[in-house]
Amino acid sequence: MYNVLGNVAASFFQPRIVAGGAAEAAIRERQWVCRCREGDETAMTALISRHRGRLVRTATNLLRDRHEAEDVSQDAFLKAFREIQKLRDDRAFSGYLYRICVRLCMDRLRSRRPEVVEFDSIQPHSGGAVEDRVVVERLLTQLPAELRTTLVLREMEQLSYEEVAEAMHVPVGTVRSRLHTARERFRKLWIEAVAE
């Protein structure tokens, strides 16, 4: 009986504890952002440690190049710190940083020359993870930056429509229509690649 009650109490309080932890982390982050404005490098290091993983992963999936992705993610931190006076609400640092990173990635994608991709023989789901990644990379290069970014943020980064809209600084309706177009194009490209 005691154990049952204990479990109920634990499960009842768990979300509160998690929410409390998140709130605590948010408060700490706000303090770091505040200290960043004064040029405190310790606070900057804390913010970099907190966000680097997500930024590097998103940039890698968008650019499909680890070294370039790391460069871009670092540039995003630099830009965010140098222009931190533009950030009105300290609570919004995470979104502000992520937006900068996505924008920098899109700039890189736009500046790339369109590649002529030839598929020798792609067997659907024949290869291992490495082959899948190569195929995905080749198919993605054929999509324009806006469609590619929308697709990657939704399908690989698992962002909601609202989060994609915020990251790309576009309305949710635009995300919806771009996503539909991107998925359709990706499907057609994949069919063409398999057929070749």
Binding site: E41, M44, T45, I48, S49, R52, G53, V56, R57, T60, N61, R64, R66, A69, E70, Q74, F77, L78, F81, R82, P124, H125, A129, D132, R133, V135, V136, E137, L139, L151, R154, E155, M156, Y161, L179, H180, R183, E184, F186, R187, W190, I191
Partner: protein, 159 residues
């Protein structure tokens, strides 16, 4: 004979949206019914799902290289130093030009003290002969009767 099926556009939209949100019972019913009567849409749905599965499997999970933070901070310090230099360099250049101008002016003033100083007083001092190495002799003639004797009334070269 080809049978035309209505609602293919709606099906294509919903076939992707079912992965993004929970469809209403009406929408889910529409998908099921349309799938049964429209083979191309059914095939398209399977292809779309396979393509998106492949895309998700192609996601990368890169590891961040060590000393990432240190590298960002180093870049930031370099950029800040460069910005500081850029900010102050116009002022420093201006100051340098002004300094050179002041030094040149001071040198000119100090040289000008070696030139003859003439204060007209009486008839004898009416004419001034100015000569310098290698330059023609210059004669300056003052009209001492004039009240404005600060500048010569005639300037001519000595023949």
């Amino acid at each position: 004979m080809k049978t035309r099926v209505f609602g293919c556009g709606k099906f294509r939209r919903l076939m992707y949206e079912q992965g993004d949100r929970e469809l209403s019972p009406r929408e889910a019913n529409f998908l099921a019914l349309h799938r049964e009567v429209c083979r191309p849409c059914e095939r398209r749905e399977i292809e779309g799902a396979s393509a998106l599965d492949l895309l998700r499997m192609g996601a990368l999970q890169p590891e961040v290289r060590p000393q990432y933070e240190e590298r960002v901070l180093r870049k930031l310090r370099v950029q800040t130093a460069r910005d500081t230099w850029r900010y102050w360099s116009p002022a420093l250049t201006g100051a340098a030009i002004a300094g050179v101008a002041i030094i040149s002016a001071m040198q000119m003033v100090s040289r000008s003290t070696t030139l003859p100083v003439f204060r007209p007083s009486g008839q004898d001092a009416r004419l001034l002969r100015m000569s310098h190495q290698g330059l023609p002799i210059l004669l300056l003639d003052w009209d001492v009767s004039s009240t404005e004797a600060s500048s010569p009334s005639a300037v001519r070269l000595d023949p």
